[in-house]
């Protein structure tokens, strides 16, 4: 035995099959260990017991369901087993569905679909990952309908079927020794409990994943009470019904009052435990992130500590990454703010000069805003290359227009002296803005240059006109005083030669 295990171990092929060493080689289909006995979330009809059982045993789920239903009919044994398993089996955790549905859950091509009238919906084909070609379309539609939250309907079907079975037994039970007046209330209680528990089952401990459907709780409670009353009023007169109902209610209330503190205690303990687990997970996430990014960067910085520029660039890039992690930049994906942050990050990475970006307001990206981001990027790129820091960019998203200002502290430049073949300013900033209906203007100040961009925008709900309209010439783009601060607008003057530069 040991030798065998060692030999196979060296062989290294089916080593896992021998780990517990409980016997000779398993058949090939058992090479993977038996999946754990857990209730399945996928492909479940009531609570996923049958699906989980089928997976664990490696038999088709339909067979399990048929057996459960068939054994339920005479003495309710299947039902008892089901409820017992429901109470004891763990629900599957957030397992990857691909992992959860192992190949052992083989499709059952020829499995007979039980008649819904007798099988009572329990065998309605919602088996996990079984693909049956003959009923493919019907099954898919049925499955989506079932998963769309109509479980209660299935449960109702089951209940009606069970009642029908019980009723049939009652009517035809003259020969058989069946106490219908016993069976009917019990069936009512069981169905009520199923209603009640099905809601409990789908509810997460911390905040319901979906709202509890109180109607089903009430219906379940009502059925249970009716069943209990039915059990107790057996053989008594109708006038005593209210007394019995009152007694049942009083008993239920008493139980509720007595058990409430315990349930509350359990509930709060569960919450605490879950909160602790969430914290632990978050902590692990953060640790993983720190290891992947921060520690790596620190190692790089130590190795290149002589190169101040590289160190500064690495530190800045890391800072940006960490900020985006801390402040959850992912949530803003696809908005102007996120695009600008990314563009400024690129510029910083390429040149190592920090850019201070301030954005007020935000809106989803479109092609015009994309042009604006590219123009801002170009202006910032010019600033970090030719001017001196600090470089700052301010973008204001207003109701009518998005305005952007890129400011540096360099000596500035004269647009006339820039050679025509240099596409940077004229093409990438001014031309681009004009093509998208915006304006650009470049102001030279005493201690630097400021590029001002303005792009008219429409409210998201307004229809977009076919042609882009140029910005109104008198738009209050910036709080400037044109009379004394000579600045130039290029919005309506496509010819760059007409531009003046402030001195």
């Amino acid at each position: 035995m040991v030798a065998l295990a060692r030999r196979v171990g060296q062989d290294g092929t089916v080593q896992t099959a021998y780990e517990n060493g409980t016997g000779p080689a398993r058949p090939a289909w058992r090479a993977t260990p038996r999946p754990p006995l857990v209730r399945q979330r996928q492909g479940k009809v009531i609570a996923g017991v049958a699906a989980g059982l089928a997976e664990h045993l490696g038999v088709p789920v339909v067979a399990v369901r048929v057996v459960l239903v068939l054994t339920s009919i005479p003495f309710g044994a299947g039902l008892v087993v089901y409820v017992f398993l429901w109470a004891t089996m763990r629900e599957v955790g957030d397992v990857d569905p691909a992992v959860a549905s192992t190949p052992t859950l083989s499709p059952a091509p020829g499995a007979p679909v039980a008649d819904p009238a007798t099988a009572g919906g329990a065998t309605t084909p919602t088996t996990a990952s079984t693909v049956r070609t003959q009923h493919h379309v019907d099954l898919a539609a049925m499955r989506t309908w079932l998963r769309s939250g109509n479980q209660a309907v299935v449960i109702t079907l089951l209940g009606v079927a069970a009642l029908a079975v019980a009723g049939a037994l009652w009517l035809g039970g003259a020969g058989l020794d069946v106490h219908a007046e016993l069976i009917l209330p019990v069936v009512a209680i069981v169905i009520g409990a199923i209603f009640f528990w099905s809601q409990l089952d789908d509810t997460d401990a911390i905040g319901a994943r979906r709202p509890v459907r109180w109607i089903w709780l009430v219906v379940g409670l009502g059925l249970t009470i009716l069943g209990l009353v039915g059990l107790l009023v057996r053989g008594t007169k109708l006038t005593e019904l209210w007394q019995v109902a009152g007694a049942v209610l009083a008993a239920l209330v008493g139980v509720a009052v007595l058990s409430a503190p315990w349930i509350l205690r359990l509930w709060s303990n569960l919450r605490l435990e879950q909160a602790a687990r969430i914290r632990a997970t978050e902590r692990a996430d953060i640790a993983a992130h720190l290891h992947d990014s921060v520690l790596q960067t620190l190692a790089l910085i130590q190795r290149q500590s002589g190169d101040a520029a590289t160190v500064a660039r690495l530190a800045r890039a890391q800072e940006r990454q960490l900020r985006s992690y801390l402040y959850d930049e992912d949530a803003r994906a696809g908005t102007l703010g996120a695009a600008l942050t990314a563009a400024m990050g690129e510029v910083e990475d390429l040149h190592g000069v920090p850019v201070q970006l301030v954005v007020t307001g935000d809106r989803p990206m479109d092609e015009h805003l994309d042009a604006l981001v590219k123009a801002v990027r170009e202006a910032t790129w010019n600033a970090v290359r030719h001017a001196s820091p600090p470089v700052s960019a301010y973008v204001e998203v207003g109701p009518d227009a998005v305005e952007a200002f890129v400011r540096d502290h360099g000596a500035g430049f004269d647009l006339d002296t820039v050679p025509d073949d240099r596409a940077g300013v004229r093409e990438s900033i001014i031309g681009r803005m004009e093509r998208h209906g915006g304006t650009a203007r470049i102001r030279r100040r005493a201690d630097g240059t400021e590029v001002e961009l303005r792009l008219p925008v429409r409210q998201p709900h307004e229809p977009e006109p076919a042609a882009t309209t140029p910005a109104p010439p008198g738009a209050p783009a910036a709080p400037t005083a044109p009379g004394t601060t000579p600045s130039t607008t290029t919005g309506s003057t496509p010819d760059p030669e007409t531009q003046e530069q402030a001195s």
Binding site: V358, T360, P390, Y394, G398, P399, P479, A481
Partner: protein, 234 residues
């Protein structure tokens, strides 16, 4: 011009390295002659809420450089220090002024410390010269806004959406002039550049900024806190 006054400061930050760095930078810079210079005296340091309160009440400095995140207290960091030191007066019998200094971009941190009573908010990446200017300004009782804080104010008061106060005293909106000042500060303008741009004096700019600070501290604009919770400065 010749104002040979001494500004006494206390540095409160839980990172010893940062305190040492700021102290060295400020001491070096304050020693070099500058226009309109004041001399700087670092009266003390602290690394937690309780020790900070103790040092501030003992030393009674003019300005406290205050980190937003600090251990101790009620868990609100810098805001706890400001509240505990309410009523403490500096040697010149004016209230001790607080300048918040933080790496945090979270709007809720900023709003918390400003509403607790800080006279300004700058990020730790600020240059030493700018920090020195900011200290001088805060010591004079003026407000110091970083571009980020200005952007935050514009956003929080709905100024970018075109909301403008009809009367200057209205607490829940910025006046047109205040909005212009905030916009220029957000664009990276220094106060004197703002003044030049708007043809007003630096003193008037300071008045406007102080008025915005007052609105930020006193406004009950309902969006302000909720807004701050859901966002961070960019």
């Amino acid at each position: 011009m010749t104002d040979p006054r001494t500004i006494r400061i206390v540095i409160v930050d839980d990172h010893h390295m940062f305190r040492t760095g700021v102290r060295a930078e400020l001491t070096t810079l304050a020693a070099t002659p500058r226009a309109g210079a004041f001399t700087l005296e670092i009266a003390g340091e602290a690394g937690a809420v309780e020790s900070a309160v103790k040092v501030i009440t003992e030393q009674r400095p003019d300005v406290v450089l205050l980190d937003v995140h600090l251990p101790g207290g009620d868990g609100h960091g810098g805001a706890d220090v400001i509240r505990a030191c309410a009523g403490v007066q500096s040697g010149a019998d004016v209230p001790v002024r607080f300048l918040a200094l933080s790496v945090s971009d979270a709007a809720e941190d900023v709003i918390a410390v400003i509403r607790a009573g800080a006279r300004g908010y700058v990020t730790k990446t600020i240059s030493a010269e700018e920090l020195l200017t900011a200290i001088g300004r805060v010591a004079d009782g003026d407000a110091v806004f970083s571009p980020r804080l200005a952007g935050f104010v514009l956003d929080a008061f709905g100024a970018t959406a075109g909301e403008v106060a009809e009367i200057d005293e209205e607490l829940d909106r910025l006046s047109a002039r205040e909005r212009e000042v905030m916009r220029l500060i957000a664009r990276g303008y220094q106060y004197k550049e703002v003044a030049k741009e708007l043809f007003i004096s630096v003193k008037t700019v300071e008045t406007h900024v102080s008025s915005v600070l007052r609105k930020l501290q006193l406004s009950s604009r309902h969006e302000l806190t909720a807004w701050a919770m859901g966002r961070r400065l960019l």
